[in-house]
């Protein structure tokens, strides 16, 4: 259920090699690194049961939909199997919901049958906005509502996941990401319907260890 991520600005080629080795050992669902290393990650996990994931936009999701779509297609060409995007937060906060949906749709049309996860950045939203955002993601056709990029200091909470689960009612899967650090949180979120977690690889190993030790 794990998208093992290592996406800090300072992570290196060596970090990617380590991530690949850990993927072979622990069979993560996917590995996600900086976009310049998509080819490296894809080559490293080829033939295993792990795939390489990739982002397709900036952390604010601010670029035009066609640029996101173009970058998504490029990542698929470079060997990524799934795409994560960020909803256009500027449009969302300006109440331009039609534009938000069209932006997601542009990327979904580009990636076709490949899984598309759309981040709504819950730490920047209130409860009502979370419900609206989840609805727009479903409308845009993404496969997953993803909670956060992890670049905002506040974590994704169980309460926020609950709001999303109520809003999507099974019409999209849920990926919980951003500051998820304990087994207890993971279990509560699975109970609410989360099917994928985005966790930095270091924290993920600790959660796996805790799950094995009980």
């Amino acid at each position: 259920m794990l998208d093992a991520t290592q996406i800090g600005s300072c992570c290196t080629k060596d970090d990617m090699e380590k991530l690949i080795a850990l993927a072979h050992e622990h069979h993560f669902f996917s590995v996600i690194g900086p976009r310049c290393f998509v080819p490296l990650l894809a080559a490293g996990v080829r033939g295993s049961d792990t795939i390489a994931g990739s982002g397709c936009c900036t952390d604010t999701g601010c670029e035009p939909g066609y640029l996101k779509a173009h970058a998504a297609l490029d990542s698929l060409r470079l060997g990524a199997g799934e795409i994560d995007m960020v909803m256009n937060l500027h449009y969302f906060k300006s109440g331009m919901y039609q534009e938000v949906v069209e932006d997601i749709r542009a990327v979904k049309e580009a990636v076709g049958d490949h899984v598309l996860k759309c981040i709504i950045e819950v730490p920047l939203l209130d409860d009502g906005e979370i419900k609206t955002a989840a609805e727009l993601v479903v409308e845009g056709g993404a496969d997953f509502v993803k909670t956060a990029t992890g670049t905002i200091p506040q974590p994704t909470t169980v309460h926020q996941v609950e709001l999303i689960a109520k809003a999507v009612r099974g019409r999209a899967q849920i990926k919980a990401a951003g500051g998820i650090r304990t087994l207890q949180t993971v279990e509560e979120m699975i109970g609410l319907g989360v099917t994928r977690f985005g966790v930095s690889v270091g924290s993920a190993l600790k959660i796996m260890e805790a799950a094995d030790a009980r």
Partner: protein, 220 residues
């Protein structure tokens, strides 16, 4: 002679790039930029068409962000999109994962791709000083010059502030071969004065902080 408010405005890239910035806030930024003659504005990307419209025929430059760790040709697409909308200053981030991996040739090539894409327009390259040691800052400045950027720019503002010490290191390494844009957590006139003294010719500051600094400069 210390700067006054008007002089500082002419060195200011007034920014509004928080994820949640709205159309209404963008219009406010544009009003201030035109009123005080900021050098340039960096607003939210979805509102570039609005910015283009508002700045047409003014002396305020129109800035475009060009990405960070994407493949260079994707960064170039961001720049081309900006060019098509009338942007005339381009800010990019060096590829830090490459830099931290010691892949210096790739770092330079990445900058060169953007240099070729934007032609004679101003290209500024962010090296993200809060994440670098002094030695790394020196190296990054060298690579930025080699890549052909017009400015070395210090930080995006998310990983901590740019300090006067960072500017000292950048300035010593640059030796006048490239201009310096200081950005990231710069909030007061004293810092601005010290940085100008060290050779900074442009500041990237949120427009609200920029207005406060202008006021302080006029009131001394």
């Amino acid at each position: 002679m210390p700067v006054n408010g008007t002089q500082f405005a002419h060195m200011l890239d007034g920014t509004l790039i928080h994820s949640t910035s709205t159309l209404e806030q963008t219009r406010e930024l544009l009003d201030y930029a035109k009123k005080y003659h900021f050098h340039c504005v960096f607003g939210p990307r979805p509102f570039y068409p609005v910015i283009a419209e508002a700045l047409r025929g003014t002396d305020v430059h129109f800035g475009c962000g060009c990405g960070d760790n994407q493949p260079s040709y994707i960064k170039a697409e961001y720049a081309k999109n900006g060019l098509s909308l009338g942007c005339n200053e381009f800010d990019m981030v060096i590829n830090l994962p490459y830099f931290k991996s010691g892949m210096y040739r790739e770092v330079v090539e990445d900058i060169r791709v953007l240099r070729d894409t934007v032609g004679d327009h101003i290209l500024k390259c962010i090296i993200e000083t809060p994440l670098l040691s002094d030695e790394e800052i020196e190296k990054a400045v060298e690579l930025t010059i080699e890549g052909g950027a017009d400015f070395v720019k210090t930080a995006v503002g998310r990983d901590g502030p740019t300090t006067v010490h960072h500017i000292e290191v950048v300035s010593r390494a640059a030796k006048g071969r490239i201009q310096i844009k200081a950005s990231g957590g710069i909030r007061d006139l004293e810092t601005v004065d010290q940085m100008i003294e060290l050779g900074v010719t442009r500041f990237g500051v949120s427009y609200q902080s920029g207005l406060a600094i202008m006021q302080a400069a006029d009131n001394r």
